[in-house]
């Protein structure tokens, strides 16, 4: 029976894919599909449905699915004005968005390395095209090319890692790999270390951790802002879900080997993300570096890997998804057909011309910076306490220091909005209703996660506690 319900999810998600081509209100259709998927996942909660032994709808996967569905709904709502203004192909946009969302959900549920690889490709190929969907803009196409090239390069490494894992353990299923590695008395062979390293490189590319982050600022700046919001949150959530599943279940017996590497990478990611972020003048690029830094915080939680660290990953992903989508949604509304309006100076005096947008942007930026009473504060606090509990005091110190530095560049935008007057104020069309509602909803979500986090934290702890 469980399999049937799992197949029902797949069918509902597939139903959402069928939207393209028709001259219909495609966005709402996709939204209906996503709500259907949400209902199905709600019904599946606590069932531990497994199909073919390679796709598992356990509570952990379902929690990530809920985050991804929220990301999908908000992206659909925020995409409308951008598509209209830029004259983008509507059907293709929504179809690609839903396809890659399907890939993300599959990635969260996959328990087999090959299925993870396939899901990774499904989501990446959709996002490559979405990045370059503004074909008349050289920047957009260039961003797509850079993202595509590095993405394909990284997935080759990831696949090579799978091949070696398969060679060493004789299987690509995570549970069997885990058993084989745990049963080993000796220290891991060089080939096993190589396999683990290659898998790590593949994941690090997708979550934009530091030596592998070069594509991030370019891709985030070149893509239309609605796409950037989608890929900075959705891809990161899905990649981290699979990352945590692989490294905390199958490769958990090798924790001693990978923890040093993750330590260094987490520290570098946090430091470089914030330091370079300070130097940016484009708000989009600044948020790209901030998203690199946020990957670093998530890596800290992954490294701590105690019970609070694990639920901190999920809580952080949820908060980050809402906040970043909101911030890029505002950027998307400020953009105009022939001007990106994403420089810091473009935000001067926004409070006087667009008080609501400025207020919403303030909420999102403060949450990203980790101010109470917003969700970002609780999420960061949670990660740093779990790091200290796990004995990673230095990492926690670096994390706190870098988030203090990062507050500088978030506040700079806010100062521009409230305290400077603009010489040439932006003239913007009125904000479309759907996008406005979506922004307000995500702002309320951020506040809710900040003020009353207990419920969501309990869910996160319960969902991750069932599998690792």
């Amino acid at each position: 029976m469980a399999c049937v319900v799992a197949a029902a999810i797949a069918a509902i998600v597939a139903e959402a894919f069928r939207a393209p081509g028709e001259r219909m209100p495609i966005g709402p259709l996709g939204a209906i599909g996503l709500i259907g998927a949400a209902v199905a996942s709600f019904l599946l909660w606590d069932h531990h449905a497994v199909s073919f032994g390679v796709v598992s709808a356990d509570n952990y996967a379902l929690f990530v699915t809920f985050i991804l569905i929220a990301v999908g709904l908000l992206s659909l709502a925020l995409a409308g004005p951008v598509i209209e203004r830029q004259g983008l192909p509507v059907g293709e946009y929504y179809a690609l968005l839903l396809f890659s969302l399907g890939g993300m959900i599959l990635m969260a549920m996959a328990t087999d390395l090959i299925v993870i690889f396939l899901a990774l490709e499904v989501l990446s190929i959709g996002v490559y095209v979405l990045t370059g969907i503004r074909r008349d803009s050289p920047a957009s196409v260039e961003a797509a090319f850079k993202y595509f090239l590095l993405g394909a390069f990284a997935s080759a490494f990831f696949l090579y890692g799978i091949a070696f894992t398969y060679g060493v353990t004789g299987s690509t299923r995570l549970d069997r790999i885990g058993t084989v590695i745990a049963a080993q008395a000796m220290s891991p062979s060089p080939m096993q270390l190589l396999a683990m390293g290659l898998l790590f490189v593949g994941f690090a590319f997708k979550v934009a951790a530091v030596p592998f982050h070069m594509w991030t600022p370019d891709a985030y700046e070149g893509a239309p802002p609605s796409v950037t919001g989608f890929m900075s949150t959705g891809v990161k959530a899905a990649a981290f879900a699979a990352f945590a599943r692989v490294f905390l279940s199958a490769l958990a017996p090798m924790h001693g080997e990978w923890s040093h590497v993750v330590w260094v990478i987490a520290a570098m990611t946090m430091i470089l993300g914030t330091v370079v972020g300070v130097a940016q003048t484009s708000v989009k690029r600044m948020l790209a570096y901030s998203s690199i830094a946020h990957s670093g915080y998530l890596l800290v939680a992954l490294l701590s890997a105690n019970s609070s660290g694990k639920s901190a990953i999920l809580f952080y992903l949820a908060t980050y998804a809402l906040t970043n989508l909101g911030a890029f949604g505002v950027i998307g509304l400020l953009e105009q057909r022939d001007a990106a309006n994403d420089q810091l100076t473009d935000y001067a005096g926004l409070w006087y011309t667009q008080p609501v947008l400025a207020a919403l942007m303030t909420v999102f930026l403060l949450s990203l910076g980790g101010f109470p009473p917003f969700g970002g504060f609780i999420a960061k606090w949670f990660i740093f306490t779990s790091a200290i509990e796990a004995g990673q005091t230095w990492l926690a110190i670096i994390g706190v220091l870098t988030s203090v530095v990062s507050v500088f560049f978030y506040l700079r935008v806010i100062v521009q909005m409230y305290m400077t007057s603009s010489t040439a104020p932006l003239r913007l069309p009125p904000v479309p209703l759907v996008a406005g509602v979506a922004l307000v909803a995500s702002a309320i979500g951020v506040l809710y996660l900040g003020v009353l986090p207990a419920q969501v934290i309990d869910w996160a702890a319960a969902s991750i506690g069932t599998i690792f």
Partner: protein, 100 residues
């Protein structure tokens, strides 16, 4: 009779050639080809491992990988065409619009 090690060695060499190609070549079509070489090097090691262990999994996985590689190549070439329309050049060093 080549052994598993010979196949792995060959696959490692092919992978290294592909990686070097991505960094060294100054034509984006060749760079895409290099990525394909990397994927096929991986395919070779999957087949070799599968054969060694006597399972068919390795060969089956290769079919999936080939499908993915084809899809990737299609998207990649489409992006290259879109890029060429703007730049009239295939040299990746000229794509410097987005920096820092």
């Amino acid at each position: 009779m080549p052994t598993l090690n010979d196949y792995l060695m060959l696959s490692g060499i092919l992978f290294a050639i592909g990686t070097a190609g991505v960094f060294v070549r100054r034509n984006i079509i060749t760079v895409l080809l290099s990525v394909e070489i990397m994927l096929n090097a991986v395919n070779l090691s999957f087949v070799a491992f599968g054969r060694q262990m006597g399972y068919a999994d390795g060969q089956i996985i290769v079919f999936f990988v080939m499908t993915v590689a084809a899809a990737e190549a299609a998207v990649g070439l489409a992006i290259v065409i879109a890029l060429f329309r703007h730049r009239e050049s295939l040299n990746p060093d000229t794509f410097t619009m987005l920096k820092w």
